[in-house]
Structure formats: C-alpha cells, structure tokens
C-alpha cells in the first residue's frame, strides 16, 4: 500500500501547460494596466463635501418629516414603473413564443437561424436606445416605456424559450404526428405542456429585470420613477434622490423575493 504513487486531484501539468498559464497571466495583466492608464483617474473636488451629500441621501430622508411625507407620492411613481414592466413582459411573453419556436433548432430545422438572428439583433440594442427611439416615435410617457421593455424582453425571453424547446423530449411530437395530428396540434399538445412551466419561470425572472430596467427608462422620458429621479439629481436634491432610492430598493427587493418563491414552485 505504502508504495502507491500519490494521486493529486488535478492532472499533472506539462511544461507547455505552465508556459500557457503564465503567458495568459502576462497578457491579462498587460490589458489591465493599459485599461487603467486609459481611464486617467483624477478627483476634481466639488464645493459640497462628500460626507454631507451622503448624509443628505441616506439620513435626512428618513429622519425629517418633510421628506417622509413624500413617500406615498413616490410609491405612485414606482407603481407606474412596475406597471410598465408588467405590461411589457406580458406582451413580450406572448410574442416571444412564436419567435422561440422559429429559433428552436429541433422545431424549425434550417429556419432556426432566421429566428436566432432576429433575437440576436434585438439583444444587441440596449433598452435605453429602444426607449429613446419610442419616446421620439410615440411621445413622452409610459407607453414608450412599455414598448421599449417589451421589444427588449422578446430578445432575451425568445432565446431562453428556444433553449427550453431545444432541450425537450420530442417523442410526444412523434406520437401526435403518428396519430394524424398536424404540426400545430403536435406543438400545442406535445411541446407546450412540457415547456410552459419553464416559460412562466423565465417570464417572472424577466419581470424582475424589467422592473429594474424601467426604473432607468424614466431618465429618457419613458415614464415611471426614473423621471423624478433624474430631475432630483440634476437639481442636487439629494434628499429626494435618497427617498426615491429607498422606494426603489424596497420594491425591487420585495418583487425579487416574491418572484423567487413563485419560481421555485413552478419548476
């Protein structure tokens, strides 16, 4: 027994492996140094002391009655933000399903590239850009936000849905095709029941993301709590900024918590 060679968990490294490792290390370090040099750190102080600003953001809003009474008003804005996210994700969920089937390799075969290309194109554009475009197209307000959110969510949901579809057991489709059902029936009865729980789970997850995303959309005029937030920062009203952030953090945490619970039940 004692003569057994020692076994290490990792495969013994070859000379080549070591050289590769150090080369990678050197290249990454070099990239990091270049990146740092290019960002040129400097602090151009302002009249307001940072400590005072922090106090105005985090302490004053919860200690002074003047600001506490604003809490319900911001909840109204936050609810609008959540409504934008919800409307957007509902539209996206419905529209993403056909696109996902088009993009799934096991359903659409060659045509899946078409669907995948469409989804990639959507995901390449940030939702803020979509929001700017839709604000220009349909005017300032939550409607533009809903459109931006839904288009952007289709990109992600479509891709995730397509992956779910690609991972399913197609034997049920065979069975329905073999009993004389048409393509649509095979998908409806053979595929959808298998994928719907995952679809819902991803939609709820995307709703979480969309609540956060639509907070920002107000900045470009697409409705919700982002509008008062950007206004308050421009005016250096740090107390208002603080209060808005409290509302946002509260609601986002609450939604993350609830959606986590629901998703655990679903899958």
């Amino acid at each position: 027994m004692s003569e057994q060679a020692k076994i290490s968990l990792r495969k013994a490294q070859t000379r080549r492996g070591k050289i590769k490792f150090y080369m990678t290390l050197i290249i990454l370090s070099a990239l990091y140094i270049i990146a740092i040099l290019n960002t040129s750190f400097s602090i151009s102080g302002s009249q307001a002391s940072p400590l005072d600003t922090l106090r105005r953001i985090f302490i004053v809003p919860i200690t002074q009655v003047d600001y506490i009474v604003q809490f319900p008003e911001y909840i109204g804005y936050m609810l609008e933000t959540i409504a934008i996210a919800f409307a957007g994700v509902v539209v996206a969920t419905i529209l993403a399903i056909p696109v996902a089937f088009l993009a799934a390799r096991n359903i659409s075969k060659k045509f899946s590239y078409l669907g995948k290309a469409l989804l990639n194109a959507i995901r390449a554009i940030p939702e803020l850009i979509f929001a700017i475009i839709f604000v220009a197209a349909v005017g300032i307000g939550p409607y533009a936000g809903v459109l931006a959110i839904s288009i952007n969510s289709i990109g992600m949901l479509g891709k995730l849905y397509a992956e779910v579809i690609e991972s399913i057991d197609l034997s049920t489709v065979d069975a329905i095709r073999a009993s004389g059902g048409n393509r649509l029936q095979a998908i409806w009865y053979g595929v959808l029941p298998q994928v719907l729980p995952e679809f819902s789970s991803y939609s709820i997850y995307r709703f979480e993301i969309d609540v956060r995303a639509s907070t920002v959309l107000g900045i470009v005029g697409a409705g919700g709590i982002g509008a008062p937030l950007i206004l308050a920062t421009y005016q250096r009203n740090w107390e208002d900024v603080g209060m808005i952030l409290i509302v946002v953090v509260l609601f986002v945490s609450l939604i993350d918590f609830i959606s986590g619970k629901i998703r655990k039940k679903l899958v």
């Binding site: 034997s171 049920t172 065979d174 069975a175 329905i176 095709r177 073999a178 009993s179 004389g180 059902g181 048409n182 649509l184 029936q185 409806w188 009865y189 053979g190 029941p193 298998q194 729980p197």
Partner: protein
Amino acid sequence: MSLVYPNGHQGLKDINLTINDGEFVVVVGMSGAGKSSLIRSINRMVTPTDGELLLDGENVLTFKERKLRQLRTNVGMVFQSYNLVKRMSVLRNVMAGRLGHTGTLRSMLGLFSQDDLQLAMNNLKRVGIEEKAYVRADQLSGGQQQRVSIARVLTQQPKVILADEPVASLDPPTSHRVMKDLRRISKEDNLTTLVNLHFIDMAMEYADRIIGLRDGQVVFDGPISEVSEATFEEIYGRPIKDDDLLGGDEE
C-alpha cells in the same frame, strides 16, 4: 419494398409481405434487423425509398401531407417509451389520440365533443385504469403508462395498430399483462396489429403469425403453428440463448 437511409444504411431489402385484416402479427429479429424500419414504414414515420406499400389498395408511399395525416389517423402507433406528455393528465394524453379527428382550432381550445370524451374514458376503462384519468401521466408506473398509450391509440379509432417494442422497457409480468391487453383489444375490435418483439417466448405466446427479419430481409413468414425453435435459430442466425426468453408469465 426497400428502404435505404440517408446515411446509406440499407434498412430494408426487397420486403414483400401481405398482412391480412385482423391478423396479430409479431415481427421478430435481432436489434438492427429492420423491425422498427418495417413498422415505421407503414405509417410513413420513415419513408421507404423504393417499391410500393399498399393499404386498402392505395400506395401510401405517394401520400402527401393531407392524405398522410388521414393515413396516420387510421394507423395507430404504440411506442417503446410510451411517448406520453408527462406533465399532462392521463385523459388529456388519451385525447391527444383524437387530434387527427378534431379541427385545429377546436383542439387548441380543448373543445372536444362529449362523444370523444366518452370514447376516451371508455378506452381507459378497457385497459383498466379509468380511475387514473385525472392523474398526471408521470405519476403512473411504466405498465400503466403503456396502457395509457394503448388507450390513446384506441381513441384514435384506427384500423391498424403498430407497436414498436411496446414492452421493451417493462418487467416480465407487466410485459405479459400489457401484451394480453393489446391482444384482447385487437381481437375484440378486429384490428390488424403488427408488434415488434425480441423475446421469443412472447412472440410464440401472442402471435397469430410471425415474420422474421435478418439484415433487413424477411427470412421467415408463417403462422404460429409452423414455428419451432429451429425457426428462431434461423431468424437469429445462431442458437437460442436464455437471453432471448423473457419468461415470467404469472398465469
């Protein structure tokens, strides 16, 4: 009739068979002998590359989408792995067999006629699991799941049943029970039935007629009365071993 797969593998070679109405035919042969290819050719799950396949005088090899669906409505199929939607209830799975008879929109909305639902329930009764109608399919044992898939095929009201290794995933007693159900029902409804099996004793017990395949060719075709152990040695191309027997019939 012949079948060459796209990868050049010759699945079936010069098959010439006539299956009679109401016959219970068992197709035997080793893995890769072409049993599945033969069975799947009949409802065009695979398409033979050469020859013709006549069903009630019509060559199914020329069928396009519409006729093909009509054909498949008349030819039911039972699969080795049951192919049920595990997250759906048993009754919904059985109703899936009715899709070929139901309009697309109606079926998508779940608007099946009461007659169809009665038919489905009745078929579940015939395979002895009507009390499981609203249970999710994945809650059932393998034998029960295979019986659901038989009920599904019956709900399709076919003239022909194709069963591709229906008991290969089941234990011996369950296998016998499923085969008995299948044979009883096929006799009651006078359904022409083709079953793939690789266990010799099962084939002997349930078949009216045996077709032996080897390397994609028919090497034996005859009624059960003409079959002996020598026949199987001929089909398998080697002496019979214990592995070829399933055993385990409890009755």
